[in-house]
Symmetry: D2
Subunit: 312 residues, 4 copies
């Protein structure tokens, strides 16, 4: 049974990688293992075909094959969101219709770098809304680091007013703590419909602070999704110190995995080391790890394991 | 019979628009009329699915349908180049294979905004070369205004050395006169394989000067392709004053059509006024002409007609 | 007697170059000659220390010396505006106070590239307003091509509401015809205080169309200021065809002078050829003309002279 | 006695803030206290008038007053580097001559956003070299996040070859671990003169890994300079685990202080809390801390203190 994404979404929506074999082909066996691993770790949702999912490096047919495999394995246990940002509305509609037919729970859209002023941004998302139609729940992705588009809280308010089917904000503005506080205050004052806000700030590098400011959880990628699941859980039961303790234990490695450029290779390497995927292959253009990188990671993993044992 | 694009290409390769009906559907009848019109005006090649061809606003299927129609109508009379820039190599290969199978003469590729340093640019085009394979002639598009990527002459030299199948440079750096001179001097000194250089500098706004510097012609869009055809012809027969006279007569309107943003709407409006296409429809997001714009254009067309009669 | 700049400003405010000797020193004799030349040609104002005035290449002391010389020579015959954009408000205040004391009529400020959203832009200009104080008339420079800051009409409206001492908009958004129409319509509807709007669109390359849309004149640089003076005059007396005839005669050279990068060298070369300044020296980093550039210019000047004789 | 900066520089060059009073005036008493504090913590050098020193918000006179005060208090105990990046070479020379006369040890220069290609970058720094002259040691600042200029290792090699007075690279490319390894390997192979490399990667957020790759230390700002001093010392004596332990203890707060935008306010707040400066005032435009920010910081400081006690 399929979940339609709605404004009550919370917890951890993991942004998955797309597993390839060592020769670069889609690896559907690893895809299944990765899904099982995520569900076992307690994620409450999955997001596929994002930037870190190498979406632009897939053919249309590969994208569909991958989404189909993911949905078949998830079996409706958690919602699956599909990245649908596209340079044009025809392609956005084509991909959206296709994945919603397959059983996706919603799509995620970021603005193109060409929109700049408040009016241009609002107008763009009106066109997105018209393109997606009245039945597709969607996530507004606010990620200026990759898009160069800066959306002020008042712009987000205008977009949400115009588009009742926008049910979630993926908050990745950086630094975004003040913005998060402003948006939550606006909801409390009734100026803004309350939507789900999941954060991806630097790959979860501000998760404890974001939860305190009213985030409903995280939507980002990390080779240790259990960190985010456990931090969210500790926060939910009011144990803020425990949330920070866990977060701090993973922070040195999370920081390393969030490096621009090489980060995806680090993540896939870690997933491979953990036995989740068979190969750490990244399609070109893409980073490769050096022997020094691998040594850095080994040291950080060892120290992380040690610290987690101390905290157990 | 299909032409393979090669380094001897010259004259005017018109970058076509993609005609739509008033409801936004592909208009294949207007496509045929536009092809006939271009051939009648004396273009020596056609380029389709560029930015001004609204390529990103088409579905994959529409792109194929449009290319198929163009190739069928051209019947091999002139080479047809297809824009194949894509955010990933899988999509680039997919589109390229598809259009080459249909009979295209070559593809054109611009770098993504993410490559910056000389080494990154050279490395990117090595991957392009591997992606396209040994049989697809391709055009290197150098258009910093849209890509933000600046390629120095030494980088272009390195790309051409690495890629024997790169047969043409679409030179749109701006201002590019000095660069054009440098590249031609490098060929003369034997440092650089001589390739075809067609220019698109501001939509042909420097065509006489570029021809003097060694350009083989123009590859750009303009609702009056006969201007470029006639300027190139006058230059070729050594009548430089005539080349300038003609150019100057069209310059006020060409300048108006080259406005950022609204330019495509101006071009389609003019094509419609000339009876070439049935509708001036531009898919969203896209500009619309105001009554004042239409009045401006009418005045400029009237003055252009008058000036051309004086020069006849 | 000094003019305070006010909202009634119109005509042609020429953006001057800063003349240097062949060794790169400030050339005050040429400065005097340039001022006399501009006044003789009928400019109604002058703007100094803009980007094309190589403002950032002067020391503080040189800037003051140059402004002092200009003001002494102008003797209050026309208003003089001084560019005061600065990376910080302390420097902006320092320069503004200094030039206003010397007798400048107002200053011009463009936003830094770091402000992006509507709110950020408005907030920045509130700080500009506080910095300049209640007695300094100022010009809002809207030039996205150099600043990357896009100001929508509603943002300009907010800035004008917040700052009663903002008396002029230097309109250089590109393409800006629709924006110009929107701003003028807002004034007519009473939504916007009517300020002077002088245009610099591509260096005056859309002057006839801008006058038709309600511009009060031009503020830009061109080695033939008489073109702009005559076009504005023809427009003012209702002779639109004459305005276009004159404009078209100068357009091929104006286009050449407006090339990015090399443009300033072209302008100084032309001023030198016309006997206005002694040397075409441009401080580094700056462009140099090649023999081919010089030949291009000679041809364009010859053709311009010929065309002007035909129109006389 | 003044140190001339040379290639043997190592340790921690702290980038200082510029202390203001609550009314925004330069606070020279706090300046003295800050210098004493830094020297007490064991820094081996100081860098003033960087971006985080609010350099662009000072008048020329304030800049000189501040540098004079710093140098007087340092009394030659450690080298003092002054940021000299400027939009033009006249201003760069003016500031450099002025601070070298006052006793600075060298200057630091970052490229302007307008240089893009390898050749443009190399050419720019040749002009810097000519501007600074043969007697001023200088630091090449490689910080693409703020400059948007990407310098490949081969470009840095060319700059160092051209400029014997460039004695240090401030390495802030991000992610820069691979680049650091490449540069050190080039020195070992003799392709590159060995210069000092101090890192500022995300404000020291990769310090342990950078030291392992051959960095000579750090040049960055952080309200707890003792962290960097202690990490460098532990690394120098071969105690890598201790280096990581200390680093990890400070990482949660360092991460918080390195937030874009609000970071400087966090740093000044912490310096004020520690009794180093009297006021956390940041000149406009600049961030302000909310009550929630202050609460976040208090929690992080408390946890940091606790963790440091555990490690003592």
């Amino acid at each position: 049974m399929t979940h339609q994404l709605d404004t009550s979404a919370k917890g951890v929506y993991l942004i998955t990688v797309t597993p390839f074999s060592d020769s670069g082909a889609l690896d559907l066996g690893s895809t299944d293992r990765m899904i099982d691993f995520c569900l076992d770790q307690g994620v409450t949702g999955l997001t596929v075909l994002g930037i870190m999912g190498e979406a632009t490096k897939l053919t249309i047919e590969e994208s569909r094959t991958f989404v189909r495999q993911v949905l078949a394995r998830v079996q409706g246990k958690v919602p699956v969101v599909v990245g649908a940002s596209a340079p044009g509305f025809a392609a956005m509609k084509e991909l959206t219709d296709s994945v919603m037919d397959l059983g996706a729970s919603g799509v995620m859209v970021a603005p193109p770098a060409t929109v700049r002023t408040d009016d241009q941004i609002v107008s763009y998302f009106q066109m997105v809304d018209e393109t997606l139609g009245a039945r597709v729940p969607w996530v507004l992705q606010d990620h200026p680091v990759s898009t160069t588009v800066q959306m002020s809280p008042s712009v987000i308010l205008r977009i949400l007013k115009n588009s009742p089917t926008c049910v979630m904000l993926k908050h990745e503005d950086w630094p975004g703590l003040a913005k998060l506080s402003t948006l939550r205050a606006a909801s409390e004052k009734g100026e803004l419909r309350r939507v789900s806000i999941l954060t991806g700030n630097g790959g979860g590098l501000f998760l404890p602070e974001e939860l305190t400011r009213g985030a409903d959880g995280a939507m980002t990628g990390f080779a240790y999704p259990e960190m985010m699941v456990d931090v969210v859980a500790a926060h939910a039961r009011g144990d803020r110190e425990r949330a920070h303790d866990l977060f701090d234990a993973y922070l040195p490695l999370a920081r390393y995995e969030q490096q621009a450029g090489v980060g995806l290779a680090v993540r896939k390497h870690l997933f491979q080391q953990r036995g989740v995927i068979a190969s750490a292959f990244v399609r070109k253009p893409g980073p490769k790890l050096s022997a020094q990188d691998v040594a850095d990671i080994a040291l950080l993993v060892r120290r992380q394991d040690k610290r987690l044992r101390e905290l157990a």
